[in-house]
């Protein structure tokens, strides 16, 4: 089934990519990272995490690096980093526009 490529990341997607920017992580580590970084502001349920990981892997934004027993580890790809930077720029633009026009 042809899926639409990602253009914009949701908040959950953004933080999942962010969690992999500097180190490889498994699912529970990603959840922990997002929880710590956002001080529980962004909840990340297992269903959402799994769907995001599957979609990112399919689009080549992340790749599986190791399977140790029941633990699967992921790393971000160059394409994923590019996607993250584009999203970050978009958000910066949004914030700049908001600060300039909205305050």
């Amino acid at each position: 089934m042809a899926k639409e490529p990602l253009k914009v990341l949701t908040e959950s997607m953004f933080y999942v990519l962010l969690s992999l920017m500097h180190s490889e992580r498994c699912g529970t580590e990603i959840v922990q990272y997002v929880s710590d970084t956002t001080a529980d502001r962004v909840p990340l349920g297992p269903g959402t995490l799994y769907t995001i990981l599957a979609k990112f892997e399919e689009e080549g934004l992340i790749r599986e690096t190791a399977v140790e027993g029941r633990r699967r580890t992921y790393a971000i790809t160059e394409r994923g980093k590019g996607m993250f930077r584009r999203e970050l720029n978009r958000l910066r633009q949004c914030v700049a526009d908001g600060e300039r026009e909205g305050e």
């Binding site: 899926k3 529970t28 349920g45 599957a54």
Partner: protein
């Protein structure tokens, strides 16, 4: 899991397969009543009796056909408080969570909507297939005809009623399924979370009606098909009164069916139907010769139970002579209707007055068109 319970039972998902919120609400309500889902087979959920508990149930769509659940995924979910129950309907994974502090299974509606792509495609495909099957059955039942249809169509409207009710309910359910899923996806894509609890009782009743009607329809079909040949006549009708004396009436033979089956045209083997619409039927057959030319007149006088039956009988007689010239309606004073048809000589006339019907099949020189007043005088 079932071993720890005293007994178990199973039930169909009330919201069809695709009303996720309604089905989850139903599972949670069952858990509050002490019935815990522990297994699934198709859309059927198996419950075991236990203690009443507040348990969250969530249905998560499979991302592809026959998706298998990898152990690392099960572990990931478990580490966040979610236990796997079973696959449901080949399209969902069912999860349960007893810990109220555990996070929701899906926390991002937009991501969740993305997970429904395969399911949406599958739902639309199955709706199309089911629609085609329904249409095929409908066409078959209209064109092919069955023993049951021949024998019971007029006498027992139950078959048609069940069939129609099942078709209507089924179509309604399918429409509701498609609408529910499309609305559901629209909400998710708009970033809205699923609203729970969601009512399901009305759909549950609709679903029960479909199952009941289909079952009744199939049973009636089976009865019609496998009824012993010698007893096929008089199903639902009896030509005997309670004291076993014959009743006045009309026996119809299904000659068309016999011809279709290549059977010998005998009364004993024919599909028969007793019609008590005419408590009084008198037939007089006259044969004479006028100047060496044969004259025949078969006159049948029916007294029916109601004017409605008169109309039915007139239609039946007209149908019997459908290969003759079309019936001409002739206004005659003293008669409700007077109809005449010919077939290169022989004439058939139908005179109707209230509940009385006179059928005359005549072969002779007289033009029955001129005899309306005479027939009127015979009736009433």
């Amino acid at each position: 899991m079932s071993e720890q319970y005293d007994w178990a039972y199973d039930a169909l998902l009330p919201g069809g397969l695709y009303d996720v919120a309604a089905n989850e609400t139903w599972l949670e309500n069952r858990a509050k009543e002490g019935f815990h889902a522990f297994r699934a087979m198709g859309s059927r959920i198996y419950f075991a009796k236990g203690e009443s508990a507040e348990i969250r149930y969530r249905l998560q769509p499979m991302l592809k056909e026959k998706e298998t659940l990898e152990q690392d995924r099960v572990e990931l979910y478990r580490s966040l408080g979610w236990e796997y129950v079973d696959a449901v309907g080949g399209v969902f994974h069912l999860w349960r969570c007893e810990n109220p502090a555990a996070p929701e299974l899906d926390t991002d509606p937009v991501v969740q909507a993305d997970g429904y792509r395969y399911l949406k495609k599958r739902m639309l495909r199955s709706a199309a297939i089911e629609g085609m099957i329904l249409l095929a059955i409908l066409l078959l039942s209209v064109t092919a005809g069955t023993v049951l249809r021949n024998v019971l169509r007029d006498s027992l409207p139950l078959e048609s009623l069940l069939w129609l009710t099942a078709v209507v309910c089924f179509t309604l359910l399918e429409a509701v399924n498609v609408r529910t899923m499309l609305r559901f996806l629209k909400h998710l894509k708009g970033g809205e979370e699923i609203h729970r609890p969601r009512p399901y009782r009305r759909r549950q009743w609709l679903q029960r009606a479909v199952v009941f009607c289909w079952a009744g329809f199939i049973i009636l079909q089976a009865v019609g098909l496998f009824w012993p040949a010698g007893n096929r006549d008089m199903i639902g009708w009896s030509d005997m009164a309670n004291d076993r004396t014959p009743k006045a009436g009309t026996i119809y033979l299904d000659l068309e069916h016999m011809a279709e089956q290549g059977q010998e045209m005998r009364f004993e083997v024919a599909l028969r139907k007793f019609h008590e619409l005419a408590p009084s039927v008198t037939q007089v057959r006259m044969r004479a010769s006028e100047g060496g030319i044969g004259v025949t007149a078969d006159t049948t006088h029916y007294v029916l139970l109601s004017g409605r039956f008169s109309e039915t009988l007139v239609n039946d007689i007209r149908y019997a002579y459908r290969n003759w010239e079309p019936f001409e309606e002739i206004p005659v004073s003293g008669l409700d209707r007077f109809l005449l048809s010919t077939d290169n000589g022989p004439q058939v006339a139908i005179a109707v007055k209230g509940v009385e019907v006179l059928e005359i099949v005549y072969g002779g020189d007289t033009d029955l068109r001129t005899q309306g007043a005479y027939f009127a005088a015979l009736l009433g």
